[in-house]
Symmetry: D2
Subunit: 136 residues, 4 copies
């Protein structure tokens, strides 16, 4: 799936907006995490089992985001996630947020760097080579 | 401390507001929990130790709140907490939110009913008789 | 639509949970508002137009909620909304939150009382008699 | 004030944490905005007046953040803000989040780039030369 772009729709509710009339900047990171979680689900990854039984988890170690055009109440956004650089202990996920589909206006552009950790020791683990392939 | 009213100041930031220009209704419950947590701290209760070592925790089992006057960005609120009815396995905490001190305007009036649970079994525990006295 | 129950699915993400491992209590109110907003949309109400052009808005004036069974990360919830008592200037919306459909476990049971206001004067307006009928 | 570092304390509550037991990553951005708002207040800037009367506002146009050590429930954090590069229409604010004071552990390191906009046209405005000096 490394060349594919996962897409997840997000509707903007009042909870997401602020008194400037637009989506509060921290909330785009919530939208991005929803897309990542759904991407993992689509790849067959059970995060609950991973955390509670295998005691392994993903954590975000860095994020960079450009806020280009503000989203507003009732907007239907599309949040993407796709694999960028993959190294031994971390990987980049590129994420954009669009209004009106991937051919529409770009609201945000950026991504996160994630690491795969032992949930007890918080030590980094090697990301399995086939992780971002569907059907495991 | 059962006749006393605990008071905790809360400043309204952009994160708390919505596109209607006022504090988003769910966020008053966040303010109320801050006041309860600080009240417990003032009473000498260490919630972390209680949860992680004693495996006991408080949970809210009911809440009722009247939204009377909306709070806005930059408002300095005062959130109160005081013990209402105390029964074997639950207790009521009365909580109001004021703008401009307890003699000011009432923004919200209500409270929560809380229970004390075994964190592993989620079974209710008896609330210790001296819990709401300072200095334990 | 007064006898009907509107249903809206909500997935629980990490953003909704807290360190007790369950959905943070204030966040159920966010889920309830999503269901109310989608219910209005299904009824043909354009809240943006209503607020920005007609300068009228709904506000929640009271809420009561029983927290019965905690929801957890990854749960698929179903949030309902149905019209309760309707008076001149306010109306009750009954809302429950289920896990596993309306025949499943009840996580929360309660509702809100809402008023219809002039957005400039914040004075209450009469709720139109046909408001909760589809297709206007 | 350009060489000074503004510091603002933030207590971690349940609302800030998630089921992984740590502060949810998006919430650090809420903490950072509190520090920026209090910094502006300390500089004598009235954001409400600026938005509602002067119709000018700050918006964040980019953020970058390294998540180094997770913060937990009850932690007392210290959030800093200091002026980085200042250009005609934007300026960088460097922000770190510490546990146990600025000599303690660094939880997050990063910052935001902010622009100064006309709130009606959303066009960028020149940042006044003396903006980051106290007492205006």
């Amino acid at each position: 799936m490394s060349n594919d772009v996962f897409e997840w729709p997000v509707r903007v509710y009042y909870e997401d907006t602020d008194a400037q009339g637009v989506v509060y900047y921290a909330n785009y990171f919530r939208f991005m995490e929803r897309a990542r979680t759904e991407w993992l689900r689509a790849l067959g990854v059970d995060q609950e089992h991973m955390l509670n039984v295998e005691r392994r988890m993903f954590v975000v170690v860095n994020t960079t985001l450009d806020f280009i055009v503000p989203a507003r109440f009732n907007d239907e956004l599309l949040v993407t996630a796709s694999l960028g650089k993959l190294s031994r202990a971390s990987f980049d996920i590129e994420q954009n947020i669009y209004r009106g589909g991937v051919d529409g206006e770009v609201c945000c552009r950026g991504g996160v760097r994630a690491a795969f950790l032992n949930a007890d020791t918080l030590k980094p683990l090697r990301v399995p080579a086939d992780f971002f392939k569907e059907g495991h």
